[in-house]
Amino acid sequence: MRTRRSEWLTVVALEAWLPVVLVVAWWFGSASSTSVYFPPLSSILGSFAHDWLNSAGLASNLLPSLELLGLGFGVALASGVVMGTVLGLTPALERASRPLLEILRAIPGVALLPIFIVLFGIDQEMKVLLIAFGSFWPILLNTVDGVRGVEPLLFEVAEVFRFGRIRRLLSVVFPGASPQIFAGARTALSISLIILVVSETVGGNGGIGYFLLAAQRNFAISSMWGAIVALGILGYLLNIAFRLIERVILRWHRLQQTRLGSEK
């Protein structure tokens, strides 16, 4: 168990040293800053603590955002993987729908927002769909490519042994495409956070994005930075959660990659 602990310590140390160095540099670099837009880190951390490290701040600003994010990202993940799998398995359909998908993908957000407002209103539903729409694409593209990249021989194994549709998906397609699906989902996670902020400017029902923009408008620059810090940390924490899931699901892949699994 001692080695396990020291392993953990190494991981934490490796992961922490650069952020610590940067924070220290930021702290001293900004200590005597007089620029309104670049306040000293001490005052940013003060705002951060004041705005976010209490139950009220979390309940009124963070929880609604997390809910939106969870729903939006969830919808994107589910629909991206499902549609990506279908398209990945039927190249003809994929080729046929490619132009349409590429066009949809390239609709600018400025134009998208009014369309979404008209179609879905200004409430939660619209925001969830907006987040889902934005973060859908990386998952879709990666799933399509991932599914198509699965070792062809394994598809033949599935055919010879006449796997049913479900078993084929669960035992061959998804595991085979999972490294790439994870890569897409990790990208999509951050995109969904970014779109969350944009979507919260509509309606104005609180949330971290609304808080950030309101702070910006009211020249509460430390609070704005505090919200950026909060967003960044949130992004980091969500990515950690993701990495933990990935560690379990892609265990085989990690082991296989690190010298055929013999060494850790």
Partner: protein, 273 residues
């Protein structure tokens, strides 16, 4: 080990048994380069047929066409008189590239159990059957719990065999299934195949480049040759229904058959010499 052939065994198959597999005018080209020129042959139920031929002649291609994994560019394949375009139930294939044919994300046990689960077995019975099949090919519980890529080449190959056996096929197509195992394991596996063929009245079509193996195992040997490949000859092996590694291989008929098959292949050798 002595193999007792049943009276209805393969050597009488030509006359008494039904045709299980038939190739009619089966030919294949890759991008307009002909690999198999149209060929005809039949395999009878309960028969053990080996396919031999030089490297690159088209054995794998033929097997893949027979398994309906790849549409042939001419002719057709019939399984029990029905034309097949999709892999049929009861047919299992052991791939030549065994290491790629195992799912790296599943344990060995799960790899072997998967076809059983797909065929509707319960989790528990699939597990039992898979472990039994693994034991048949000489792999223990430790190996069953490992990932395929943690096993040696020969062990992986045996996992692929175990997977095919576990699925209880009636027609087993095997593509150089013993290429990576040592001489003893190979002999054991050969005898295992014979026993299974007899006991379960399995039909086996096995590609091999070991002519001794082909003669030892088969009721008939199909020799492929030429470019594009054609059937050079189909040799009936009448070594009786009781075979064993030492006695049979020592028989003068064995040496004779072996020489004959050798001659068939030698006919069209490539640039190697």
């Amino acid at each position: 080990m002595t193999i007792h052939r049943s009276p209805t065994g393969p050597n009488s198959a030509h006359t008494s048994s039904a045709v299980i597999l038939e190739a009619r005018g089966l030919g294949h080209s890759y991008n307009d380069r002909a690999v198999l020129s149209p060929m005809d042959f039949t395999v009878f139920e309960g028969e053990f047929v080996c396919i031999v031929g030089p490297s690159g002649v088209g054995k794998t291609t033929l097997l893949r066409c027979l398994a309906a994994l790849q549409p042939s560019t001419s002719g057709a394949v019939y399984v029990r008189s029905e034309r097949v375009t999709q892999p049929t139930a009861g047919v299992a294939l052991v791939f030549q590239d065994y290491s790629r044919s195992l799912m790296p994300w599943s344990s060995v046990l799960a790899n072997v159990a998967l076809p059983l689960r797909a065929a509707g077995s319960s989790r528990a019975s699939a597990r039992t059957d898979a472990l039994r099949a693994l034991a048949l090919v000489g792999l223990d519980d430790v190996a069953a719990g490992m990932y395929p890529w943690q096993l040696s080449g020969g062990m992986q190959q045996r996992v692929a065999i175990a997977r095919a056996l576990a699925s209880r096929p009636t027609l087993l197509l095997m593509d150089e299934p013993f290429a990576s195992v040592d001489a003893y394991t190979r002999a054991d596996l050969e005898d295992l195949m014979q026993r299974l063929q007899r006991e379960l009245s399995l039909t086996v079509l096995l590609v091999t480049h070991d002519i001794d193996e082909a003669v030892y195992l088969s009721d008939r040997v199909i020799a492929l040759n030429g470019r594009p490949a054609h059937v050079a000859d189909i040799v009936s092996v009448d070594l009786g229904s009781r075979r064993d590694q030492l006695t049979t291989k020592g028989m003068p008929e064995f040496a004779e058959l072996r020489a004959r098959v050798h001659g068939l292949i030698r006919g069209s050798r490539g640039t190697t010499s």
